[in-house]
Subunit: 431 residues, 2 copies
Amino acid sequence: MTGPAQATPHTSSRSAVLDVIRAAGTISRVGLVRATGFTGATISTVVRRLIDDGLVLETGRAESTGGKPRVLLQLNQSARYAVGVHLDIAGITYVLTNLGGSVVARMSRAGAGAEDPPVVVERMAREVDALIEGVGVDRDLVMGLGLVSPGPLTPTSGMRLTPPAMRPWEDFPLDRALEEATRLPVVLDNDATAAALGEHWSGVVGGSSTFAALYMGTGIGAGLLVNGLTYRGASGNAGEIGHICLDVDGPECWCGAYGCTEVLAGPAAVVAAARADAELARAAGLTDGDGEPSRPSVVAEFAAVARAARAGQPAARAILDRSARHLAVAARTLANIMDLELLVLTGPSLAIAGSTYLPVVQEEMDRAFFSRATHPVTVRLSTSAATAPAIGAATMVLQSELVPLRQGLRLPEDLSDAEPGGTARTGAAGG
Amino acid sequence: MTGPAQATPHTSSRSAVLDVIRAAGTISRVGLVRATGFTGATISTVVRRLIDDGLVLETGRAESTGGKPRVLLQLNQSARYAVGVHLDIAGITYVLTNLGGSVVARMSRAGAGAEDPPVVVERMAREVDALIEGVGVDRDLVMGLGLVSPGPLTPTSGMRLTPPAMRPWEDFPLDRALEEATRLPVVLDNDATAAALGEHWSGVVGGSSTFAALYMGTGIGAGLLVNGLTYRGASGNAGEIGHICLDVDGPECWCGAYGCTEVLAGPAAVVAAARADAELARAAGLTDGDGEPSRPSVVAEFAAVARAARAGQPAARAILDRSARHLAVAARTLANIMDLELLVLTGPSLAIAGSTYLPVVQEEMDRAFFSRATHPVTVRLSTSAATAPAIGAATMVLQSELVPLRQGLRLPEDLSDAEPGGTARTGAAGG
């Protein structure tokens, strides 16, 4: 089912053709007919429009098996760009990608922390400006901004039932505020779902178009890709394995349930266990001289515990191992429900400690995955675990070009004569 | 996204058109163009073929908003039939459906029990004969037989890692043996997946095309329908919630893992708990005078405990309540991972005790489903819980007509001149 020139289902012929060209690198019109199943006439019309719009280039000719050589097509990579932003309490990660989804600029800045949402939004707008200007890209070519953050998200905007530290963001009209501040169309999504898309476009999954990305940042979640499309569920919040129950008699989670993966295995649980061990807390630098927290975020604290474990500190190793064993059981639940063949470990916390978690998760799959008699589950560590959500956020913008009639989202053609005020863009996201 | 005349994705235009006609009841060619997105010319060609094949009838004319009245199309319900068989240790359920998926005959017989697979297959062939002959349907119009059983199944045939009682079925070439015995093409699938299909075609889900069917028979599983298509996963074993972990320190399951839903909540666990209480065991009739098991299957024993609970026996109520609470947590995990809006309780054991389980599952969703701030999860009790898997099995055959190029499956047109020996049908299923 998979392969570089294999079409994935799309709602428009334009989207399917662009996606196949992107995946193939170079491809002829005949190749597009084969890959998409569209008629030659449809391909001819769609390709002409894409060339007229400057999104696709003709590039040399392929050897043919007879008849005249075939003209090859490829994306005009630098025709359009997209901004991807991963907003988390612990850090904000930015990427700028070209039309092909390649990262042309990236940067990391301080997380949302305890700042008020409007203050963070103004800062994000300045940081997006710096990202685009720093690499010298014409702002008129930037199609939009994808922003991803911990779920659950409502379909229209904003976060719901957020972790305690992000409560001020509930009911904040994030998409509209960010559109006004950046003068870019904004799409919002769940960071774990975006991580799966990011892995698909840039990661370690090779030709696989069906897999789950197990995400650990400040929280734990999963993104699901099925035949190249994100599986989103009823409200875009599919994959919430951070709040499945691993222990009916377990401790209470901030979400109100008991024995959740996040309260047993998440970075905050790891840090709390490390801090309960005064010697380890000191050795890992979790506290300053007065016993007060000395690091800016739970991910930074988690990184300190992970470093202590790598340095051979037995208490740190035991704590991480316990977290890994719980995460492995959650991963097995995900594999059982989705009947997975491939699972990718990703996200900022697994960028730090993934090598500790990988063998534990793989062992759990080999030992106890229910359908193991029919096929194994391969577990891989992402090579872009820290930036996968931001890359996925940018590709959401690129894919909204692939579906140009997406409600309210301006087409690239409209960008040059758009008014700076941006009222026409309000409501571009979500809907 | 849903509605009676809404096309769901299919691999062929014929399949999409048949499915829309079935769902709509009656529909015009113009309506088909709207519902499928195909051109008028494509619809015209496909409909002509379907009428020529006798699968679709023209039936009267609809009022038009102008111009000539539109001819309405409907399925020729009695043009083809399909057999659905649900094979379980505790019982074998048969249905015969017409082309529209309506049940025209049903029967229940003794389960596979401890009999040898070849003996059971010969019996199933006789019972299928009785089913078809009993209702006077011309056997040449029977397209094939769908057989569903507890998973996991291999893609090619047979069961793997089956519950202990079904071990003799591992490696038994069930599809080929059944094809030879019944002289019908056979498709195999997981009973929980079939239950979801059965609910979609006949059940309580109304217009919903995305939901999960939580199945409890001898075992526990789930079937997933996404936009009207079964979500099957890498090997057709998606939805295995019977073997997700609810308690990392829980008891060992027959599958080798610990704290599985099935070992905590399944009918065998309920019966074991009831039997451990000598008074309850006697009151529920679980044992004969000598303390030996007196009922033919675990589902029959489970039914006895459920009856005792309904009669107000406190120990029986407590045992069922404990099972329901564990099943509810598993259901919440499923809802969190799939971001569900609708869950249907189905399967033979929930046909018996569903009214006890329904409020407990609904309460767990309302209280602890992670995305509850964005939308609720509705839980419904199936109205065809005992037969949904068999109905789903038959619809798999009907849908393979909808995909007529399915590997090796004979087309209905070929049935009248097929040789009785059936070698051409070997390998019809799975592949």
